[in-house]
Symmetry: C2
Subunit: 889 residues, 2 copies
C-alpha cells in the first residue's frame, strides 16, 4: 500500500486538522479545521508537502500512488458537488493553490477556474445564464494557466487585452462584451501555442496534473528560494497543493459575498457584525467600489442566511475560542465560508472581549491575558482619532507619546502660554525642544518636533506629562523665526489648526474628530486585576512632580522608580535661583543660592512622599549638565553683538557679558558625556548635600504627620566605585544630621543608576556597597551603541528603513548588546549582594518586548512613564505566563 498523500475535506468532515500543518501547509490545515468545525466550506482536497518533497527527490516524478489517490479524491468531490470535471452539463471548476507550513505571501501563484475548456465554458454559460461571465472566467483561466503553468510571459496577454479594449473603445476590462472575451480566449490560446509551443490542454484532467506540478515547482523558483533565505525558512518544508471547488458570489441576485466578525471589533460588543454585497465576489467587497450593506440589512433581506451566519459565528467562537473574522460567499442561495481568522480589534474591544470570554467560560484568565497587546491598553488612557474618518495626513514622524490632539499652531513656548491664556487650544511646533520650553509644553495640547528621536527631550518630557507628541517629523521644515511650517509645498502658519496623532505619529491638516478614552471602565479594572495577579515584576512609574505621581498611582504604579530632580529646577520660581547657583563665583555664594532652593525642593519631595504614601520613592540627584539651566549661548552672543553695534553700554551689557563668559566656560562639545550626573555632586558636593537634606527633612516631617515615606536616593552616572562611595558617604552624613535635628529617623536606601557600560562591567564591586541598582537603559543604550539620543533620529530611521536595524534600540531594548551588559551586571550584582534590589527606569520599562527581557534576567521591577504603567503591568503578566505576545491564528 502506498503512503497517504491526499487529504480530503468536505461534507462536514476532513481527513486532516490544524495539527497537520507541516504536512498540509497552513492553508490546507485551515481548510480541514474549518470543515471539521462544521462550517460549509467548499469541498476539496490537499496534496501533502511530503508529495512535493518526494517529487523533487525523484527528479520530478510523481510519488507512487499519488495519482490514484487524487483520482479517488476527485470523484468523491464530484459526488459531493453534484458536478463533474469536464462535464458538458454541470462542469466542476477548481482552484489550485500552493500552501506551505510557513506563510510566504505572494511567493507562489494560484490557478482559478480550472476545468474550463471550449466545451465546458458553454455549459457554464448556460448554467449561470451569463455568457459574459463564463467567457470572462475562461479568459482568466487561459491567462493564468498560460503564464503560471506554461511559462508564457504575462505581458503578452496584457498587450492582447489592451489591444482588444482599444478596438472596442472601452477603458476597463469589465466593459468588454462576451464577444470580445471570446475573441480574447482565441488570441490567448494562439499566444500559448506560439510561445509555449503546445496547445492549451483541453482535457481538465491534464490541466489538473499540470497545475499540480507547477505548484510543486513553484517551491524552487529563484524568487521563492531567495525569500526563504531572507526569512530563514528551511528549504526542506515543501509546499502542499490545495484543490478546491470554485464558488461564485456573482451569479445573480441570489448570490453575494461578505465579511463578518463574531463580535464588534471596535467596541467588543457581543453581536454579529459585518458587511455584505449582493451579486459580487469577495474582492468587490474589499475594493469598496459599491457600498456594502450592513448585517442589519442582510437580516431583513435574507433572514435565513443571517440565521445561518449567526449559528456559524457561535460555532466559530466555540471552536477557535476567540473572535473570528470570516469571509463568506452565497452562491445562488447557498452559503459557503471561505476563510476564517482571528479578528483584529481595537484595544478597548480586546479588553472587553477578553474579560467577557473569561466570564462566558470560553477562555481561562491566562489565555485572556495573552489576547491583548499591552500597547493596546493606551487606548484606555488617551483619546484617538475616529478611525472611520478620512484624514488628510500631511506628514508622519515618530509616535513619541500617544494621544490625539487638535489645536492652533504656535512656535515658541511663550506664544503657547499666551495663546492658551486666551482659551485657545495650542499645538507647540519646534525643531527640537529644550528645558526652556517646559512651560510651553505644559499648556500645549500636543508637541510636534521636526527633529529628535524616541528619547529626545520632547519625547521624554511629553510622555512624562502623558501628553500627545510626535517627534523627528523630518518632512516638516519648521522656520521658528518666521513662524511657518513648510511641508511638501504646503504652508502652515501660526494660528492655523493642526491635528496630531501621537499614537501613530501622524500629522493631520485641520481639525480632526477625536474619540475620548475611558480608563474607568469595569472591564479595564477587571482585566488589570487579572494581570496583576499573574505578574512577578513590580511596576513603578517615572514621576517628577506630585501630580504625575498621583496619576501613576491611579494607573497602578507601586512606587516611583525615578524622580528626576532637575525637572523641579526648571519651574518658573526656581530657575532664577538655579541660575544664581550656577553663576556663583564662590562656594559660599553657591551655598546661599542652594539655601533658598532647599525649602522648595523639600516641599516637592514632601508632595511625592504623600502621593506615594507607603510606597518607595526613588529620587535621583541632579543629573544634567549645568549649562542646560543657563540662557542659550548663541542668543547671548547675538544680543551682545547687536548691543555693541548699537553703541549700547552700561551695567546690563556688562552683566550679559559676564553671563556669556560663564556660559562659555560651562558649554561642552558633548554634554551627554560631560560634566553631569554624579560628576556634579562630586565637584559641587554642596548640591548633593542640599538635595539629601531636602529629601530627609521632607521624609522626617511626613513621617511625623503619620505618613510612611520610603526614600531611595539614587546617584546618577556612576562609572567608578569611588564616585558612588563618596556620594553615599555624603548622603549618610546628611542623614545622620537631619535625623538628629528632627529627632526621628526614617529608613532609606542608597543606590545607583547603571547607565554607562563601565558601571555594568564593575557591577559586582558596586553591588557590595549599594542597596539597589536601577538600569538607566536610555543612557546605557546611548553609550553602548555610541548613538546620541538627541541626534540619532535621522540615521536610526534610515537604518530601520534599510533593515540594518530590526528595531529602534531606544524603543525596544537591544538584547544582544545592551541586554548582554544588563544581564552581566545582574549576575555580578546578585552574586556580590543577594539582597540587592534591581530595577530599570529607562523608557524600555514601558515596552512590552523589553519587559519580557527584564523578567527573564530576573529584575525586581520596571519603572516607566505613568501612562505606560498599565502596559507594563500587562507585559509583565504575559512575561510571567510565558506568552510570547498576542498571537494571530
Amino acid at each position: 500500500m502506498s503512503k497517504k498523500f491526499v487529504y480530503f475535506f468536505g461534507g462536514g468532515a476532513a481527513e486532516g486538522d490544524r495539527s497537520k500543518k507541516d504536512l498540509l501547509g497552513g492553508k490546507g490545515a485551515g481548510l480541514a479545521e474549518m470543515t471539521n468545525a462544521g462550517l460549509p466550506v467548499p469541498p476539496g482536497f490537499t496534496i501533502s508537502t511530503e508529495a512535493c518533497l518526494l517529487y523533487f527527490q525523484d527528479e520530478k516524478n510523481l510519488p507512487q500512488g499519488l495519482q490514484a489517490q487524487m483520482d479517488e479524491a476527485l470523484s468523491r468531490l464530484e459526488k459531493l458537488a453534484g458536478q463533474a470535471l469536464g462535464s458538458s452539463e454541470r462542469p466542476l471548476l477548481l482552484s489550485v493553490r500552493s500552501g506551505a507550513a510557513l506563510s510566504m505571501p505572494g511567493m507562489m501563484d494560484t490557478v482559478l477556474n480550472l476545468g474550463l475548456n471550449d466545451v465546458t465554458v458553454q455549459a457554464l454559460a448556460r448554467w449561470s445564464g451569463d455568457e459574459r461571465f463564463a467567457y470572462d472566467c475562461y479568459r482568466r483561466f487561459v491567462q493564468t494557466f498560460g503564464s503560471v503553468v506554461l511559462g508564457v510571459q504575462k505581458s503578452s496577454f496584457e498587450e492582447l487585452l489592451d489591444d482588444e479594449k482599444k478596438r472596442w473603445g472601452v477603458r476597463y476590462d469589465s466593459e468588454l462584451p462576451a464577444a470580445a472575451l471570446k475573441e480574447l480566449v482565441d488570441q490567448f490560446q494562439q499566444a500559448v501555442r506560439k510561445q509555449a509551443g503546445l496547445e492549451l490542454p483541453q482535457d481538465p484532467q491534464i490541466q489538473l496534473g499540470m497545475a499540480r506540478d507547477a505548484v510543486f515547482r513553484s517551491w524552487n523558483t529563484p524568487r521563492a528560494i531567495k525569500y526563504r533565505q531572507m526569512h530563514e525558512i528551511p528549504d526542506t518544508l515543501g509546499t502542499a497543493v490545495n484543490v478546491q471547488m470554485m464558488v461564485f458570489g456573482n451569479l445573480g441576485e441570489r448570490s453575494g459575498s461578505g465579511v463578518g466578525f463574531t463580535r464588534n471589533p471596535s467596541t467588543g460588543q457581543r453581536l454579529l457584525y459585518g458587511e455584505f454585497l449582493p451579486n459580487a465576489q469577495g474582492e468587490d467587497v474589499v475594493a469598496g467600489v459599491r457600498t456594502p450593506l450592513q448585517f442589519s440589512e442582510l437580516e431583513k433581506k435574507w433572514p435565513d442566511i443571517y440565521r445561518q451566519l449567526s449559528e456559524i459565528a457561535e460555532k466559530l467562537e466555540r471552536h477557535y475560542r476567540d473572535v473570528q473574522d470570516f469571509e463568506f460567499t452565497v452562491q445562488q442561495g447557498k452559503l459557503y465560508i471561505l476563510q476564517t481568522r482571528t479578528g483584529k480589534r481595537t484595544g478597548v474591544a480586546a479588553v472587553k472581549i477578553a474579560v467577557d470570554m473569561v466570564r462566558e467560560g470560553l477562555v481561562s484568565q491566562q489565555e485572556a491575558l495573552g489576547r491583548v497587546e499591552p500597547q493596546q491598553l493606551v487606548q484606555f488612557l488617551h483619546p484617538i482619532f475616529d478611525p472611520s474618518d478620512r484624514l488628510e495626513v500631511i506628514a508622519t514622524g515618530l509616535p513619541a507619546s500617544p494621544g490625539a490632539a487638535v489645536g492652533r499652531v504656535v512656535f515658541t513656548a511663550g506664544d503657547a502660554v499666551q495663546m492658551s491664556k486666551k482659551g485657545e487650544p495650542v499645538i507647540l511646533v519646534r525643531n527640537e525642544t529644550s528645558a526652556e520650553d517646559i512651560h510651553g509644553m505644559e499648556v500645549a495640547r500636543a508637541i510636534l518636533t521636526a527633529r529628535g528621536g524616541m528619547t529626545s527631550h520632547a519625547a521624554v518630557v511629553a510622555r512624562g506629562m502623558g501628553k500627545c507628541c510626535v517627534v523627528g517629523c523630518d518632512a516638516l521644515k519648521v522656520d521658528e523665526r518666521n513662524k511657518v511650517i513648510t511641508v511638501n509645498g504646503l504652508e502652515i502658519r501660526e494660528g492655523d489648526f493642526l491635528s496630531v496623532d501621537g499614537t501613530a505619529g501622524r500629522v493631520i491638516k485641520g481639525k480632526a474628530h477625536t474619540i475620548a478614552a475611558d480608563p474607568s471602565s469595569d472591564e479595564f479594572a477587571d482585566f488589570m486585576r487579572m494581570a496583576d495577579a499573574a505578574r512577578a515584576l513590580g511596576v513603578r512609574a517615572n514621576a517628577d512632580i506630585p501630580r504625575d505621581a498621583q496619576t501613576a498611582r491611579r494607573f497602578g504604579a507601586e512606587g516611583i522608580g525615578l524622580c528626576r530632580t532637575e525637572h523641579m529646577f526648571f519651574a518658573e520660581d526656581r530657575l532664577p535661583l538655579v541660575q544664581r547657583m550656577i553663576l556663583a563665583a564662590s562656594e559660599a555664594e553657591r551655598r546661599a543660592a542652594l539655601e533658598q532652593l532647599l525649602p522648595l525642593q523639600r516641599s516637592d519631595f514632601f508632595g511625592l512622599f504623600q502621593a506615594m504614601d507607603g510606597l518607595p520613592v526613588t529620587i535621583r540627584f541632579l543629573d544634567p549638565p549645568l549649562h542646560e539651566f543657563l540662557p542659550k549661548r548663541e542668543e547671548l552672543v547675538v544680543e551682545i553683538a547687536l548691543a555693541k553695534e548699537r553703541g549700547q553700554a552700561g551695567p546690563e551689557l556688562a552683566e550679559k557679558e559676564q553671563v556669556l563668559r560663564r556660559v562659555r566656560e560651562l558649554s561642552e562639545f558633548n554634554p551627554m558625556l560631560g560634566h553631569r550626573g554624579c560628576r556634579l555632586g562630586i565637584t559641587y558636593p554642596e548640591i548633593s548635600e542640599m538635595q539629601a537634606r531636602a529629601i530627609f527633612q521632607a521624609a522626617c516631617r511626613f513621617q511625623k504627620e503619620g505618613g510612611h515615606p520610603h526614600p531611595e536616593i539614587m546617584i546618577p552616572l556612576v562609572s567608578l566605585l569611588a564616585e558612588f562611595s563618596e556620594q553615599k558617604k555624603l548622603v549618610e552624613r546628611v542623614g545622620r544630621e537631619v535625623f538628629e535635628a528632627e529627632r526621628v529617623s526614617v529608613p532609606y536606601h542608597v543606590g545607583t543608576m547603571i547607565e554607562v557600560p563601565r558601571a555594568a562591567l564593575i557591577a559586582g564591586r558596586i553591588a557590595r556597597v549599594a542597596d539597589f541598582f536601577s538600569f538607566g537603559t536610555n543612557d546605557l543604550t546611548q553609550s553602548t551603541f555610541g548613538f546620541s539620543r538627541d541626534d540619532s533620529g535621522p540615521f536610526i530611521a534610515e537604518y530601520l528603513n534599510r533593515r540594518l536595524l530590526a528595531r529602534d534600540p531606544f524603543v525596544t531594548l537591544d538584547e544582544e548588546g545592551v541586554g548582554a551588559l544588563v544581564q552581566m551586571a545582574v549576575e555580578k550584582a546578585r552574586k556580590a549582594n543577594p539582597r540587592i534590589q534591581l530595577g530599570i527606569c529607562g523608557e524600555h520599562g514601558g515596552d512590552p518586548q523589553s519587559v519580557r527581557f527584564f523578567h527573564r534576567v530576573g529584575l525586581d521591577y520596571v519603572s516607566c512613564s505613568p501612562f505606560r504603567v498599565p502596559v507594563a503591568r500587562l507585559a509583565a503578566a504575559q512575561a510571567a505566563l510565558g506568552e510570547s505576545h498576542y498571537t494571530t491564528a
Copy 2:
C-alpha cells in the same frame, strides 16, 4: 637561646643582606648590603621588624633577649669605632632611625647625635676643636629627643630658638654663637622638664632604649596608620630600628661631604661624576648655599680620597650592576659611604649606559632593556629645556605632546600663519582647538590650550605632528577676542615670548634655553635593535600624510595602523570642495564634488603607499561629523544678525543664510555620538565609494610602478554587524571595478575599529566577516566611561587630585572596565576567526603600561603617533620580557 633580633654591620661584613628586607626593613637591608659590598659604611646594627611586632604583641614589653643582643652589638660597635657610648673622652654618637620594608617617607622620625649629655658634649667640643659645633649638636639632640621621644611640642622649641635669635639680633640659626647654643640647651631641657614632667635622661644607654621604643611606637601613630591605609600597606609589617655611628663632614678642613655618580647621569659617559663640599655636612651640599667643587677639583685637592672613590665606584657597579648615586662623608681624612642607590639619569644617558653595560658584559641584553623607561626615549626625538636653568614657570597643564618650544604668542590660526610668514617663531594659544585651526597648528612651534584633555583635538593633532603641546592649562584665562592671557595677575599679550614644555606640561615666561635632540646616535640604534629582537607585539604608527609616514618609518614603524582620511580634507585646497560636498542639495551634486576630491585623495594614498612600501597601510573611512567641516554656527549667526542690523542685503547675505540653515540642520547636541563614522558611509555611500576608489586606484598604480602596497580598509564606529557587512560589500564591489579597469589586482584587507562597547560585545559575530580589528581605545574609553574626550579634562583632573581615579583613563588604559571589554572582544574574535589580525590604534598604543596590557591580552600590534613609536617598541620588548618597568633599588 632567644631568637636573633639584632643584626650587626661594619668592618667589611654584615649579618644581614638585601634579601632580608622584610626582617631588616629597606634601610637596614641596604646598609647590610653596602657593608657586604666592601664599602666603608659607618658601622652599626639593625633591630628587626620582628622585635617591633613582638613589642606590640606583648603590651609594649621588650621581647626576651633583645636587650642582651643590643648590648653585645653596641660593645662590638664601640670596639670598631674606637669610641664608647657616654665616654668623657671619645664619646660614640649614634643615629637612631626607623625603616619598614616598604617605604613610608616622612612618616616616622629620626633621632641624631644620641649619646650627648652635659659631659660628652664637652668631650665632643674638645675632640672636634669646635665648641659651637658640639653645642649645636647637643641643642639639636635635645630638640629631636624631646619632641620625638618625649612628646614635647615642636613649637615650644621653635619659639625659644626664635627668642634667642632676636636676643642676639641674628637671622639664621647658623649665626648663633656657642654661648647662645649653650643657653638654648638649658632652656630646651627646662621645656622638657615642664612639658614632659621628667628630666632629659643623661645616661646614653637610657637614651638609646627610649629612642628605640619611640621608633617602635611610631609604627602605630594615627598618621602612620592612615598612611598605610591610603597605600594599602599591611599593618603586620612592623618597622625595624637602625642604630648607626654618627660621622661628621664638618669637622674642619680635612672633612667634607659629597654626592657621586658612577657615570655621568646627563650623558651616560663612563666617568666618575660628582660634587664635593669641604667642611660641610651632606645637607649643605643639597642646600646649595655654598658652591660645591667638581670631582676634577677633588682629584687635585685630595688625590687619595678621589682614588678611593674611584675604586668604590667600580665596586658599586660590579655589586649593584647599575649606575649608582652615592653619598659620602670624609671625617678628618677618613672616607665613609652613607648611602647608595640606583642613579637617576636622563633618557639619553639611560640608553648609553644600557648599551655600554651590555658591551662591558656587566648586564644581559634583557636587563639592559629593563633599565630604560620607555617614556625616556622621547628625549632622543624632542628638544628639552636645559635642566640646569632656573625657569619661571607660570602655569602647568597636561603634557600632551613632548618637546620644548619658544615663540611669540598668537591667538588665532590666521595670526599664526601671518606672523610665521614674517619669520617669527609662534606659540598658538587657544581655549581649545578645532579642525579649523590645523593650518595654524602646522606653522606653530607649540600649541597651548586652556581646556581639553590628553585626547582633545589639540593633543591628538599635535602628537600626530610631533609638535610640542600643553593642554588643559586651567590657570590660564585666555581671552581670544582681546588677545590676552591672564594668569595669576600676570598679563601676556600677543607677540610676547613664551616657552612651552610639552614633556612636563610647563608654561614658562619669556625665552628659555633649549637643548636639541639627537635621534641618530649609534647607541640609540643599538638599543632599539635589542628591543626589536625581544618584542612580540608589532608597532605601527598613526599617520595621515606621507611626511608623517616617513617620520614614523624612520622611527621604526612597521606600517600605518591608522590613517585618518578626514585630516586630508582640511587642507586648504580641499576644504572648499568638502564644503560643497556637504552643502550639496542632491546626491548628483554631492557626487560631482566627490569626483573632484577623488584625484586628490588618490595622490594622498599613493604617497602613503610609497612611504610604507611593502608594509601595511590601514586607512580609515571618513569619521567625524560633517559639520566639523563647515563654518562655525555662532559666527554665522552673529554675522547675519549684524548684516541685517546694518541694513545689508543681497545674494551674499542670502547665501550666508543658506549655509546657516544647512549648518543648523547638521549641528548636533552630541556630535561624538551622532552622525559620524560608518553612519556617514552608510547614509552617503558615495563618500565611501569615492574613498575606496581612491585607495584602490592609488594601490594599483603604485603596484604598476613596482611598489608593494598593502591597503587595509577600516570601517569606523561600527556598532552593528550589518553596518560592517554593508560597507564591506561596497568596498569589495569598488575593488572589483577598479581592478578590472586598471587590469591589475592588489591584495587588501577590510576590517573595523572596535570603539563602542557594543562592537566589543558582538565581536565574535563581526570577526567572522572581518579581516582585522583595530581597537579605538580613545572612543572606547569615552563611551565605556561616558567621559567626553573634549570635555572631561576638568573633572578628570579633580578626580585625579582627589584620588577617585588613579590614572587618567585617556592616557593609561583602564584595565578593569575598558580592558575587560577589549579582552572579551579579543577572546570572542580569536575563537570565531583564528586568522583575524588584532591591533589597537588609540592613544594608549604609545603608553607603556597600556602596551603591557595589550601584550598580555594577545594583540598582534599597537599603533601610535610617529613620535611614540620608539616608546612603544621598548614597552613591547619589556612586556615580552616580563619586566614590570624601570626599577629603582
